[in-house]
């Protein structure tokens, strides 16, 4: 069990930056960005190729840039072509499928990087730590650096303007800030995080697969919601950390559920969807319960009065 638990924590950390990216678009920009499914695979593909070429660190950097480019494409569709945000994300995501296959050795659906040096394996050889410890250390360090950078960015005027863009576009435009530019920056940063997460996944798992990204957005939403429930979203700084926490807790929940045979592995996505739908509908459910309680109370009272 302890091994499964450690595995879940590792996977949660590896996916943490993906959730951070989803948090930025879904919660700050308030646009559900479906590019994620494509940009995480883009990160995997880019990382696999460059890692196999012997540059595991460069692989991370290039994956990050590739993700930012993917986010920029979505932003272009949204702001310049005026395509509805969800549709814009789907366009990029679908387009990326072909791009990803192109990157992966001209069309092979998966690539193994077993035998190549990765950040995780290099750290392990250098420090002589156990496998789990070194993986968790590397993942925590990468997540911490990125979260700190993102937190710093969102404390600058540009970051603040991005928050305001998600809140009230009219107001931002009225203060001579271009909302198009803000959306572009936010989508680029978000997808850079997602893609970096994909790169970490490839170095962690030892392969890249063109289908590995499908349904990622659903996992992202679920993790964001779990993280917010745990951390109680007070301000944006806690929000970023809650994304990583949510990702880890999500993986732990799934690991426990599978271990105790609650449901078979292929039920993962259905369970995620159920978690999201319940979490998103808590407020309307609570409201309608309150309304019917109120009605029942008043009907009773009027019966008594008669």
């Amino acid at each position: 069990m302890i091994n499964q638990l450690l595995g879940a924590i590792e996977l949660g950390l590896v996916y943490g930056l993906m959730v951070l990216g989803v948090y930025i678009t879904f919660r700050i920009l308030k646009i559900p960005d479906l590019t994620v499914d494509g940009s995480i695979t883009l990160g995997m593909a880019v990382c696999a190729m460059i890692t196999n070429a012997g540059h595991p660190f460069l692989a991370m950097v290039v994956a990050l840039l590739a993700g930012a480019a993917a986010g920029s494409v979505t932003a272009f569709f949204q702001t310049k072509c005026k395509i509805a945000p969800i549709l814009a994300g789907i366009m990029t995501m679908s387009g990326l499928y072909s791009i990803n296959l192109l990157i992966m050795n001209n069309g092979s659906p998966n690539i193994s990087i077993l035998g190549s040096d990765t950040l995780f394996s290099m750290f392990q050889t250098a420090t002589m730590l156990t496998k789990h410890t070194s993986i968790i250390t590397v993942a925590v360090v990468i997540c911490a650096i990125v979260v700190m950078l993102v937190e710093f960015f969102f404390s600058t005027p540009t970051g603040l303007s991005i928050c305001a863009t998600g809140d009230n576009e009219d107001m931002v435009r009225a203060t001579s800030i271009s909302t198009d530019k803000m959306k572009w920056i936010a989508l680029a940063i978000a997808n850079a995080c997602v893609s970096l997460s994909g790169a970490m996944y490839t170095q962690y798992m030892g392969y890249a697969d063109v289908t590995a990204g499908s349904g990622t957005i659903v996992v992202g939403f679920a993790s964001v919601i779990i993280g917010e429930t745990i951390c109680v979203r007070k301000n944006i700084r806690i929000g970023f950390v809650s994304a990583i926490v949510g990702s880890v807790v999500y993986r732990i929940i799934i690991a426990v559920a599978i271990k105790t045979n609650l449901f078979p592995t292929y039920f993962l996505k259905l369970i995620s969807v159920i978690i999201i739908v319940i979490a998103l509908s808590i407020k309307p459910i609570r409201d309608s319960i309150a309304a019917s309680n109120s009605k029942a109370r008043r009907v009773k009272k009027s019966v008594k009065n008669q």
């Binding site: 600058t156 005027p157 603040l160 928050c163 009230n168 009219d170 435009r173 203060t175």
Partner: protein, 266 residues
């Protein structure tokens, strides 16, 4: 300060819904002018504001602000010199950000540099001072979410955001219409003070004929996409509310001399 020459704008051109909203409107505002605009619904008041603010590019005509040709400049560019407040208090602020963050966004357009904290100590002092002018106690609640404030408070903060970097033109689109009478009066009072102190050229749309006469130094009446009456000086000073209403009816009767106006006069 503001010069508009022969401005035209038609919406949905070439369709059955074609609507000529501005028909050759010309207007010149001198520095320090505070003009109120009255006119019935559909007269083109808000369209005029949208044209000045650059929400759309006009079909014909020119717009100059402080001598600079703004005719083809985008909205975000003009926002540097044009401040605007809407009727809906929710439109001017970002609800999930704090009061000081909202002010910081309005203020940041005056500052350079991207990688610095959004709110410096000095900024905070300035915001505190600005908010204390409102006498609403907001200077002690700068870290409160904007969404928790009442409509009147939000509108007051919006006003401060619009003038924290002094604009050349201030457009007020019935900005007190959604507030209760007392709060409306207070916001109007603050508006008057700030406009006077900072010497901002101001245009204000209102449906309150009394304030149209008493506020500022000019009263404009719009009808059917044009300015049909421009009152200032002694003529305006001597005009009563009743007198202005008479002029209003005259204009409407004269221009819309058809059975539609007869029906609506019952």
């Amino acid at each position: 300060m503001l010069k508009i020459n022969n401005l035209y704008k038609t919406f949905e051109r070439g369709t059955v819904n074609e609507k000529a909203a501005l028909k050759g409107l010309s207007l010149e505002l001198r520095p320090d002018d505070f003009a109120t605009i009255i006119g019935s619904n559909g007269a083109g008041k808000t369209t005029l504001f949208n044209a000045i603010a650059g929400v759309f590019i006009s079909d014909e005509g020119e717009i100059y602000i402080d001598g600079e040709d703004m005719t083809f400049k985008p909205e975000t560019y003009r926002a540097r010199v044009v401040g605007r407040i809407f009727q809906n208090p929710l439109m001017g602020t970002a609800p999930s950000l704090t009061i000081e963050q909202n002010l910081a966004i309005a203020y940041s357009s005056s500052k350079k540099g991207f990688l610095r904290p959004a709110i410096s100590k000095k900024d905070r002092e300035l915001f505190r001072e600005t908010l204390s002018r409102l006498n609403m106690g907001l200077e002690d609640r700068m870290k409160t979410s904007m969404g928790l404030l009442s409509g009147g408070q939000r509108q007051a903060v919006t006003l401060m955001m619009a003038v924290i970097v002094t604009p050349k033109i201030l457009l007020l689109d019935e900005h007190t219409a959604a507030l209760d009478p007392l709060t409306a009066e207070k916001v109007l009072e603050i508006t008057k003070e700030v406009v006077k102190e900072k010497h901002i050229t101001t245009l204000m749309i209102t449906h309150n004929i009394a304030s149209a006469l008493h506020l500022g130094n000019r009263t404009l009446m719009m009808d059917d996409g044009n300015i049909v009456l421009d009152l200032s000086g002694p003529e305006r000073d001597n005009l009563t509310v009743e007198g202005l209403l008479d002029k209003y009816r005259q204009v409407k009767g004269h221009i819309l001399d058809n059975d539609r106006i007869l029906l609506s006069q019952e």
